[in-house]
């Protein structure tokens, strides 16, 4: 009798799990979640595969201007798969590309650092402010987005050029005799990047600082920490998630930045975004341009994955 009972329980258990399996697929939730992933698949992953494919082909004077990887001829009954690594080899051989990558990373890193320096006090003030003042400061940070990015860069050209506002003002005040050369320099590129990407640094910093309990700073002072010590021992470590998020949000697009160096930088400002543009539109060497883009993506994605990995481990402890 007891065995039959167990069999019955087992049987019903089996039915139950089957039933649950089908009912657990929540189709409503599935459709909501799948839309953004579908979007990413169509507009990010597939184009990337296409670019990657082009990078393995060779340039040709044709339409499109590269050789096909896969070729077949039914009459002569052959299929050829031709993967060319020559573009990648050329990337490694020619110092030009390496120095373009390094220079891009340098410009992006320096700009990110200065963006952080400028953004931290702004975010700190916002996090400390009360109600309406906070809303006003937040609006001021977001306000530049209401104007076209291109217009704002052109405005900087007006400020920085030889007979621009800054030079005119300084000269009329008698502080300088000769106009300062600011346009077409790395300095102008740094200014442009720091200015443009500032909100992307301020907002994550603000959200990290806003969560911080102010009595922690009082506790630190009470235990003998001077204000600068409280900042480096308490505020900064607690703001770290915001610092990392903000730096990634600035650094990644800054590496591949094209418009700002093209408009504000000089001919000697070497950045990979510009190299990419030249390969595509001046040399019409699509495979080479694709290889440059793929390597840039790898350079950017690897450190991010490493950071995320280390953060994940820290969170698990």
């Amino acid at each position: 009798m007891s065995t039959s009972k167990i069999a019955w329980i087992n049987d019903s258990y089996g039915k139950m799990t089957k039933y649950n399996f089908f009912s657990r697929v929540n189709w409503g939730r599935f459709s909501v979640v799948s839309v953004p992933y579908l979007w990413l698949a169509i507009f990010f992953f597939i184009p990337f595969v296409v670019v990657f494919k082009i990078s393995l082909s060779e340039a040709a004077i044709a339409v499109p201007p590269y050789t096909p990887i896969l070729d077949w001829n039914l009459e002569e009954a052959y299929v050829t798969l031709k993967l060319s690594l020559s573009n990648y080899l050329f990337l490694l051989e020619d110092d030009f590309y390496l120095s373009a990558y390094l220079s891009s990373i340098k410009v992006a890193a320096i700009s990110t650092f200065f963006t952080l320096l400028v953004a931290f006090p702004i975010a700190y003030l916002m996090a400390r402010s009360e109600g309406s003042m906070r809303a006003l400061l937040l609006a001021l940070v977001i306000l530049p987005f209401w104007t076209s990015f291109l217009l704002r860069v052109y405005a900087w050209m007006g400020l920085l050029k030889k007979n621009g506002l800054i030079n005119e003002t300084l000269m009329s005040m008698g502080l300088i005799d000769q106009p300062l050369i600011m346009m077409q320099t790395d300095f102008a590129v740094y200014i442009g990047i720091v200015y443009t990407y500032l909100p992307f640094m301020v907002l994550p910093l603000y959200s990290a600082l806003e969560k911080m309990d102010m009595t922690l700073l009082e506790a630190a002072e009470d235990l003998g920490a001077r204000p600068y010590q409280s900042f480096f021992l308490i505020t900064l470590p607690l703001a770290m998630p915001g610092v990392i998020a903000g730096c990634l949000l600035v650094f990644i697009p800054a590496v591949g930045e094209f418009v700002i160096p093209a408009l504000l930088g000089g001919s000697d400002t070497l950045m990979i975004g510009r190299v990419l543009w030249d390969e595509f539109f001046l040399n019409r060497d699509w495979p080479m341009a694709s290889a440059v883009a793929v390597v840039m993506l790898i350079i950017l994605v690897l450190p991010i994955m490493l950071i995320r990995n280390s953060q994940g481990k820290e969170g698990a402890v």
């Binding site: 009595t215 009082e218 506790a219 630190a220 235990l223 003998g224 001077r226 308490i234």
Partner: protein, 388 residues
Amino acid sequence: MTSPQHIDPSQISEQATIKVPNWKSDAKPFVQIENITKKFDDFTAVDNISLDIYKNELFCLLGGSGSGKSTLLRMLAGFEAPTSGRILIDGVDMAGIQPWNRPVNMMFQSYALFPHLTVAENVAFGLKREGVRGAEVKKRVAEMLDLVQLGHLGKRKPNQLSGGQRQRVALARSLIKRPKLLLLDEPLGALDKKLREETQFELINIQDELGVTFVVVTHDQEEAMTLASRIGVMNHGVIVQTDEPQDVYEYPNSRFVAEFIGSVNLFEGQVTVDEPDTVCVTSPEAGAELCVNHGISCAPNQDVHVAVRPEKIRVTENRPDQKYNCVQGTILDIAYMGSLSVFKVKLASGKEVRVTQPNTNRESGGRFTWDDNVYLSWDMDSCVVLTS
């Protein structure tokens, strides 16, 4: 909180000297607060307070929210600067001395533990700022964690601890620098009732062991009564009464203190007999003459209040043999609370009197029932006259 009935005044002072460490013998006060006022714009949070706190004392600032007790504590810690007046700690004027330079540490109400540091790192924080390094830090942190019985949790982060454990970490962190004065802001506020009771005795033991002067801020009178060697009752930025816990309870100096600490029955009346050791008050509210065996200073026929604590009143079926302090009424409500029963008795004047009776045997809970006619009586030394 439940104190025995019929306390002999000499007994009170004897008990008090047992409980209170010998701070009274120390002639020089350790903390001198002189005419301190703190204004926030138009609002006066602390109004001209002067207060002396002695070494090894566990002084409790007791008051409701907005009474200025926290502001006073924050001025001692250095987080707020007084508008006028001065604070001396161990004879040194604290004006202009920043929080990080004061010989004072504070335990925050929210504990304010650093969430990114482990328990041991939290406790070590103050030591490291003093320039203590290496093995010395380890040794002292281990000692301190043992003192608060958290030796095994040094590697945890604050968010992995229970409320009671966090409270101990906060205490250990504020004691590690061996401050002369420890400020505690509602130290037991965030703990549940059972944990509070355990912790408050531990606090007293630790204070005893380390010989630190404690200033505790609380709104909880029970906490103040058990912890404190002296209580300062605050209201609207002023200290209304400063006394030992038993004196604050048994001899409140005003209606505010009597009503704030414990529950009390107040009878309004006029003074008829005013002698050095006896005062009699005729109270229409009570419908009887009320007599007290302590003198007061007041004008004849002045309106005063006689205050009687609920546990000091006897309830009897028949009229007891005494001419004064005896009123008649009917039982309006009964609440059986296990160890005692609470009666609400309505007098002829309409006044409701609250009486608690200990349930000394199993049957005593059912002695009286609703609408019973009873007599309430108390002794001359069980009540006090309040002139303000």
